[in-house]
Symmetry: D2
């Protein structure tokens, strides 16, 4: 039974606590911490766990075998570094850290520790649809992938959502899972800005088309459209040398009504990938037992940060921006 | 140039006149007739044709090479027999006649004349979807057909539409085209009456499930639902020994809007098979030139009448009713 | 922690042991039994449990809180009655028993015990697709259901599979879940026998069309085709007064290859409903804790047996056969 | 009856002759010409027409009311200018001319003539699918279009097909119909070159992604993939402020076979738009009668040439290239 301490008891922190304790096997949450004590207490009630306000105390608690970090992004680096120092496995919600530099520090620390300890919470790699596409690609039946056409559409965002957030908060999931899908590395980024929808505001260019090129020459386009109104609509089509593979949307009843034949489009991101959180954390629990990291590594977290930075530069420059991560360390291969 | 006389200048009569004169090749309407003179005159204006009120005068007019009969069903037998007598080809809108006996008279007269003169206006045989299905079946790729699942759904009907009309006015199209599709003959009929929709009235059981069995043992179910509200929805799925072939609906744009991914369902029968009228009449014009009947024959018209009678008996009895047409005459093979 | 004893350690017995022990929450398998001792031992190794060859010993073991019965159908009645006698909840794989009389005995015994103890393993009620359809129907958006068009297609069966098995081993799942879906009771049954596929043998009429009518007048047709070759293809379309709701197939990638746009059809029944076993047993574990039976009851097991008998009679007679279960006891409402 | 002369009796020339003479209304081909006399004679036999080897003789023949030009692209300018000079309507197969300068000459000559005489053979504007999409956009139901995602995929090309031909011979159809679809003008072009498929050769980069921006800021991506192997697959999805409209593929039967649920993808460009040639030429015949040009004008032919030039520059430079056509003359509005 893996004994877990959860750092950061907000929205997803509480979801993960319930998930770990009530749905998954071989794991139990024994301690929680939050800078905001009331929050920690509410969360502790969900799992009958101890409460800290200091993340370090939790990390170093002898009863804690592994850490789940669900504090806000800016607080991740400290917790993850402390977990590495303590030699304890840590599942860190995305992003690994808010700067590429901080991600690099984590990478260096993990390598120095000699142990695989860090997994980043990019849960799409555990989504059934993406996995089906990856299996199809890996089967070899379709030849080499050449292009990916993707969309990340979202019904609407608040007025505090601004242009760079289309990268950091939205496309970040594509950034991680697309290079994994085709088993390749990014080389450059470009962003195209169509005229904006009337449903946006002055600080947000919406939609945007993000273009990524990989080292093998795969060209990826991702339509990011966060005020598309009609639904949370994630698409991913991989054009290969001998065929095209498109991720299916989750199945819903086929309805005939009022002159239309229709199926549902998910409207909330929460529901779209809800199952993958279970699969992701169960896989983490299982691999921790073996001292492995099966899912997105600290290196993947660093790659995501570097790629996101290049896309933000490209949003501003209009140019093709290089994505320079350096060679992937042997440790992560 | 085939010179045609049109008998009966109502709704479809006028449509056919425009079609023959403005869209099709090798044909021109030269005379029209209607018991109602004003109607005939309006129609004549569409084609610059002569006007009769007497169908016989039209049939025997030396300028008329062939007849299109679009009077009401009860008036067909007289016109068709007269055309046969005159030795002139006649395209008769469905039904060939309103009783099996009258249809039989036409069959006998045509055989006696020794010439192939009569085509019945069952236009679904000219619909692209049915033809695609027939081609698939005839390719042999799917093995022998075993079952057909069909629907004939219609948004709504008036209060003068009664239970037997579900056979005579609605399922009649399936009656003709399904045996053609599988190249087989009917053996028996049964009708199942589910509880009726609240949108019907006391004289109409709606929906109904009509079951037909062919001589080779193919079992056909046709859901007839004339107040289904949502659309004019014609489906036909053929289950074979080595696969299933389903007729596609006409293509319409694929829409994402308000949480639904949808395509359109036709709402009017007029539009659903509009293209097939053109193909049907052009084919008739072309085959008349060769002294052939390519489409549904008088025998098919007779088979439809006998089958419809059996279904109406089955509506009343709740039993399985035999469909007895006798052997198909050599003349029609 | 619910301590479970499993009776019958064959194929599905072992699957359920792994499921209960490794995937589900709040439950552990502590004892297993099988008439075949080696089988019991192999199974015991999966869960580190005690071994019996006598089901009664297992049932009455003080460490066993509840029983899962996965022996062959003929052995169910004894185990279930013994469990009721012991006052212990029992999850019995379908069928509840092999005769309606035996099912009735169980119903009577459970009512006499005054406690809700028996759940039958009709797992389709826990399938996401059926649940989505049920939610759509229950929403009221589509009005009353009038007809159900269903298929139960299976790639192929062995030569020991005979005509009545199309009811007992195949349609049995539809029998249970369709009346649940529309919240109604069966009234009569009919079976239509199309000409058989060349892939069957003399003892098996394949395909068959099973027709069920409910007390409210809903008409159900189920195409049962167990040598359809192309896949395990479960369909369920509910035609309502104001629209049609069709169960979706599980989502698979959309492929463009060699002139075809395609998705996958499941080929094995094992995979098609694999997820629902988890949901079903977790739900059972959870409801046992509350002394409830949420899923299919002993009464449902009895209804399935009576309905199956009527269908088998209908296979032989060709007639419409009454389905007489008597009034559903208050205990089960 | 419009009397037409056809210049250039190759593949499509003969197709158009048969179309004009055997399928369409109000038109007859009376003369044909080809530099290669045998070809002209073969074609003449299809329509019982006179034969010239000199296009000018044909154009000035008093029996010719209008010209259809189906010679190779390089020969169009001469014929079209001669037709304008003769004051006769001319339907010119795409391209209008092989250089923007020549197109401009035609534009200037037509304006100078004061009469609308030239239609260019971009037949996609007459395709049912594009028209359905345009109607949806024009309905206003979806708000302003923001992005278009398109594919032009073709099974394979010969080794004489080179990189610039992906623009001139393939994307040219999108170039014309996409700006028409959204009623806008192009502003700039970019071409992205993914790694090439193994099925191409050294002189052809395949696939390519062509990016166009309109003056209103609509961003268009067109995947051009001419050795995609699996089919001739034309897609066009328009993302609007309030929904997404995607062009449907032509309907084909829905097949269940060997574990797949599939529909057909067209494999030949000839079939994909075969119906639109009929609609296009009938529309041309009808509008000639009114002295109008309903379809693509000489200006559209010029715009296509300028846009194609920018795309070819972009193929070479890798940069965003301006598309400068100058203001659309009043004559064409
Ligand atoms: N993978 C996904 O799809 C997904 C979805 C949602 C959120 N997230 C990520 O999860 C993280 C948390 O998001 P959220 O929506 O739950 O945020 P939240 O604001 O609801 O919760 C954050 C919690 O952390 C606490 N906190 C703040 N600083 C802390 C510190 N230094 N140490 C410990 N606790 C601290 C706050 O009091 C709060 O309770 C973010 O990084 C976010 O990007 C990922
Ligand atoms: N194939 C199809 O899909 C289809 C569709 C519609 C109608 N139809 C058939 O076409 C026929 C006409 O239908 P409609 O909707 O045009 O009817 P309608 O009532 O609009 O027209 C019938 C016309 O026939 C005239 N008429 C009546 N008795 C006549 C007679 N003895 N001789 C000449 N004219 C006479 C009437 O005055 C009227 O103008 C019917 O048999 C109908 O079943 C077929
Ligand atoms: N819900 C479903 O989809 C589903 C699927 C498969 C099987 N089933 C049902 O599960 C039951 C078992 O099926 P299976 O495929 O595992 O069969 P199986 O033959 O593989 O296993 C049955 C086991 O029970 C043992 N057994 C025989 N008599 C016994 C007795 N009196 N007491 C205890 N054990 C006894 C046998 O030795 C064997 O190990 C059947 O009723 C079957 O209908 C349901
Ligand atoms: N709209 C479409 O989808 C489409 C499809 C195919 C072709 N086209 C266009 O149609 C034109 C013809 O294509 P094709 O495939 O029929 O070519 P083709 O080579 O088969 O035929 C061209 C014919 O023109 C003749 N010719 C050559 N020079 C001539 C001249 N100066 N005057 C008269 N005749 C001359 C040739 O002898 C030949 O018979 C091209 O411009 C092509 O781009 C358009």
């Amino acid at each position: 039974m893996l004994r877990v301490g959860v750092v950061g008891c907000g929205a997803i922190g509480k979801e993960h606590i319930k998930r770990l304790n009530n749905k998954l096997q071989g794991v139990t949450v024994v301690v929680v911490s939050d800078v905001f004590e009331e929050g920690a207490k509410t969360a502790a009630a969900l799992c009958d766990g101890k409460v800290y306000t200091d993340a370090n105390a939790l990390i170093n608690d002898a009863e804690v075998d592994a850490i789940v970090c669900t504090s806000p992004g800016f607080a991740h680096v400290e917790t993850v570094l402390a977990a590495i120092k303590a030699g304890k496995p840590v599942f860190c919600e995305k992003p690994l850290a808010t700067t590429a530099d901080d991600c690099k520090k984590i990478v260096d620390a993990e390598i120095a520790s000699g142990k695989h300890l860090v997994q980043v919470g990019f849960m799409r790699r555990y989504d059934k649809g993406y996995i089906q596409v990856k299996e199809a690609l890996d089967s070899g039946e379709f030849g080499a992938p050449l292009m990916l056409h993707c969309t990340h559409r979202n019904p609407e965002v608040g007025t505090d959502y601004t242009t760079p957030m289309a990268v950091h908060d939205t496309a970040i999931h594509e950034i991680d899972c697309l290079h994994w899908l085709v088993d390749d590395e990014y080389e450059s980024a470009q962003v195209i800005m169509p005229g904006s929808t009337k449903y946006t505001h002055s600080e947000l260019k919406d939609p945007q088309i993000m273009l990524l090129r990989t080292k093998k020459g795969i060209c990826i386009d991702v339509e990011v459209f966060v005020n598309c109104k009609f639904g949370y609509d994630i698409n991913c089509e991989v054009v290969c040398e001998e065929g095209v593979v498109k991720m299916p949307a989750p199945a819903t009843p086929i309805i005939r009504k009022e002159g239309r034949l229709s199926t549902g489009i998910e409207t909330s991101w929460i529901n779209r990938f809800i199952d993958s959180y279970d699969v992701e954390l169960q896989d983490w629990v299982n691999s921790v037992a073996k001292g492995e990291v099966n899912g997105p590594t600290a290196w993947d977290g660093y790659v995501a940060a570097v790629t996101a930075d290049a896309l933000v530069r490209a949003q501003q420059s209009g140019n093709i921006e290089a994505i320079v991560t350096g060679e992937c360390p042997k440790f992560y291969k």
